[in-house]
């Protein structure tokens, strides 16, 4: 058993979990996060809050981030319930998303730099 902490990240605020829950492994923590995200979503909808703007940030006993679970991943209509093996897919999707953002940023950065270079070159011609 290992202790996992389920912090709730909401728009503009984050609610820390300072108790934690003992679970056998990260996979079990993922399924537990899915079940809880679903329960919290019902309660949020009743209060006219948008669950898709919330996420769980799961950390281990040392405070390291194990994975993130955006509620949208659970509330989006799907043809089946979350199950073992989904954590890997979820982390993979998040990695791909992060890599895409990094590469987009890199492209933007390169474009800005070349723009800057040509601006500088133009400036020297004045």
């Amino acid at each position: 058993m290992a202790r996992y902490f389920f912090h709730l990240v909401s728009p503009g605020e984050s609610s820390k979990d300072d108790i934690g829950t003992d679970l056998p492994n990260a996979e079990a923590a993922y399924l537990e996060a899915c079940d809880t995200a679903l329960e919290l979503s019902y309660e949020m909808l009743r209060e006219r809050l948008d669950p898709s703007r919330h996420a769980f940030e799961i950390t281990d006993a040392e405070g390291h981030l194990v994975f993130e679970l955006p509620f949208a991943e659970v509330t989006r209509p799907a043809d089946r319930m979350p199950r073992r093996g989904d954590l890997r897919a979820s982390i993979h999707r998040q990695h791909e998303h992060t890599f895409r953002i990094i590469s987009e940023l890199r492209t933007n950065f390169d474009q800005t730099q070349s723009l800057l270079k040509s601006t500088k070159a133009l400036l020297t011609q004045i």
Partner: protein
Amino acid sequence: MHPTERLIRKLQITTGLDAEDVRALERLPISVKELAAHSAIVREGERPAQCCLLIDGFVCRSKTTDAGKRQILSIHQSGDIPDLQSLHLHVMDHDLTTLSRCTVGFIGHAALRALTRERPIVAEALWRETLIDSAVFREWIVNVGRRSAVSRLAHLLAEIGTRLQVMHLAEGDRFELPMTQLDIADALGLTPVHVNRVVQELRRAGLLELRKHSVSLPDLPRLKELCDFDDLYLHQSETL
């Protein structure tokens, strides 16, 4: 402590047992056993030949779905006989399990049946106990079916605290509650992580303080108001 001391204390709050009734209860043949936390006392489908008097500790009644999801139906404290129904309903329709380390006393059905036939007031008192049981079940249906997560936990804590106070088993607003996060989750129909969030919410509101295996409810009136707790359903008013 005599095994029947708390049972008698409880019955005397609401019923008029006479000295002879009390002596008859004390004379019941009881075989006392110590059980570890989370051990089965009797399981669904079994045909017990005895009832279990809880002398010390906490036990719960529960049912588990085919998918393996457990719902705790009630929580019992010392002085209760949670499977009293098995005296008349011979096959168990739910599980009885310890939540904490427990001292239990087994009383044979034959001895209990003989007692209820000889002492009608005792029979009435025990009948009344099973009626209170069903009143508690009704309240739990409302709790799990209709209350918000935070009110569900507030209600459960208010119930346990009130019942322990009636039995003089609480120290002021503080009492022992050896339930795990998972036990509480199964009693409320929530996930353990959700229970965790609700515990933190009540704590931040100044309504709950947690120590290892003990709980204190510093503002019981406000806690009761939060979950519309009305102790009528516990039927613990003085001797009728």
